[in-house]
Symmetry: C2
Subunit: 328 residues, 2 copies
């Protein structure tokens, strides 16, 4: 069987782990598009310390590009998959769909969004109405700690499922998701599974992402240190999580009863996990608060569910984003 | 008439302006206690650019000390006033009353707290039950931009009034407030008035301090830039201000109807005012959130007034304080 041609955009922590898995499985021919770390990787390859893949010095993927290639002229160059592991900053340009556009073959390329947040498929489906879009929900802890230097501390765990599509046959959607899971898992160094209930999966992760992520970004504390103030869970985290659960329920996604205690338990004090938005704030990068939090607040409004904590966190994050934009 | 002997503790922006006014009036003999800027002022005096006092190079107050003197042994050294212009950080040591203690003559020294927040007199009155404690509510914009370098951009405006006292005759309290106003105003370069309704005065300032101050500290934005996001007033500032007004009302302080619009109007976009807590966060200093915001939240609980916005801002500020303490 011919290898799948994969274009992977955005090689920070999560993207590099995805590239490693796809390459290790030998069922994909991976081209990486790098931006901020292109020069560093050209010079010295990736330096990776991974709980799944070990220590790799000067790791070089097959093809490294510094921009998204235009595949429209020559059908042989077309990609079977475009895997997006960039941040998804809804309130900045260029938009993700503009970035990937030159490499999307209508009706063929499957677009995989391994990204946080809600409703992220909407602008992509609107722009590429004949392409399948897959959801990737990653639960790993992998960060780029310097240009091209990746620290991957928690085993890769990726749920893949197709976003609903108004005109594409569901069996085709499922087949695409299952095929991607196969090529991603082939190397045997990851837990990647097909999770057909994309909505439930994404709302489940939002219990963490719409609450601990902005709270840590606003206070400057990791999830462990935050909890050393005994009041922070009761006064901030749990009430905000309850609001996420309520909005999810109004949308028809009934999260398990223990979702809040489980989410907190997976962020124990001693692990001192820095959520992505906190990492971004520390680096002076823009934050993903629109997709992670803003969409939840907007869904709450549409569903007429009161979510004052989430609304306040969201608007404070809008202020942080304004500061970050001024700093750029 | 003999000059009043005044010990002034804390010579940042507000403290230096107070020292200037007291010294200019020639009715006070002022000793300053400096801490962080002691060496700089010993070497080169203060450098002051003041809207009220002009540009002063190498300004040196009469007496500069680097610790609070012990006046207990010799009555002739006792102070008539101790003016506290330090930050009032309720959740750190040493506490203000410990700091001033060696210089407080029981039954004699009048303690003037030119500081933000609510219930700040309580620990001082508890520690020095026979001393009058005056409230100073300052509305000026004066900052120390480098050690001993003061920028004073908005004319000094100080309200003085006595905090209620369980055992001291009210006429004595009033006399003390009026006398302090006299010596502070004698130089004619300030608006300093006697405001007997200390509670109303402090709650009025809290409409600003319990809302814009923490919101700016959490977002990293000055009050002007904050408002360039059109939603921030409606979504954050105004609802939080309404909660302050409601708590004040429950405490018996009916703030004027236009207090919210007036408070916002005095922080126009073009002025880009950085509230004190934002300045502290930027400098890595501890913040005064306990007195400015925590006390309001606790008063709301006591009065059974719901104040979810203030509560959330407060607990986020507790997280910021934890980070600041870790950084020290």
């Amino acid at each position: 069987m011919a290898k799948s041609r994969v274009l992977l955009i955005g090689c920070g922590g999560i993207g590099t782990v995805a590239a490693l898995n796809l390459q290790t499985g030998l069922q994909a021919d991976v081209s990486l598009v790098l931006r901020s770390n292109y020069a560093a990787v050209q010079a010295a390859g990736f330096r990776i310390d991974s709980i799944d893949h070990g220590v790799l010095e000067d790791w070089r993927p097959a093809t490294v590009l510094n921009s998204v290639p235009d595949t429209s002229a020559d059908p042989i160059t077309r990609f079977d998959y475009i895997v997006c592991c960039t941040k998804n900053i809804a309130d900045s340009t260029p938009q993700l769909s503009d970035i990937m556009s030159p490499a999307v073959t209508p009706g063929h390329t499957v677009i995989v969004l391994i990204q946080n947040g809600l409703n992220i498929e909407r602008p992509v489906q609107a722009r590429f109405p004949t392409n399948i879009v897959l959801s990737g929900v990653s639960r790993t802890d992998a960060h780029e700690i310097a240009k091209g230097v990746i620290r991957h501390k928690q085993s890769d765990n990726l749920n893949i499922g197709a976003f609903n599509h108004p005109t594409i046959d569901p069996t085709e959607l499922i087949a695409a998701a299952e095929h991607f899971v196969r090529i991603y898992s082939a190397g045997g160094k990851t837990v990647c599974r097909h999770e057909p209930n994309v909505g439930l999966d994404r709302w489940t992760k939002l219990v963490y992402n719409a609450t601990l992520n902005p709270i840590c970004a606003l206070t400057g504390l990791d999830t462990g240190t935050l909890q050393t103030d005994g009041r922070s869970l009761d006064a901030l985290v749990v009430p905000a999580m309850k609001e996420v659960v309520a909005v999810a329920a109004a949308k028809g996604y009934l999260l398990p009863e223990d979702i809040i205690s489980r989410t907190i338990a997976s962020n124990p004090v001693e692990k001192r996990i820095s959520p992505s938005m906190l990492v971004d704030v520390r680096k002076g990068n823009l934050i993903e608060h629109e997709n992670i939090l803003g969409e939840v607040v907007r869904e709450a409004e549409i569903a007429d569910v009161t979510a004052p904590m989430l609304s306040m966190l969201y608007h404070l994050c809008c202020g942080v984003q304004l500061r970050l934009k001024e700093g750029q």
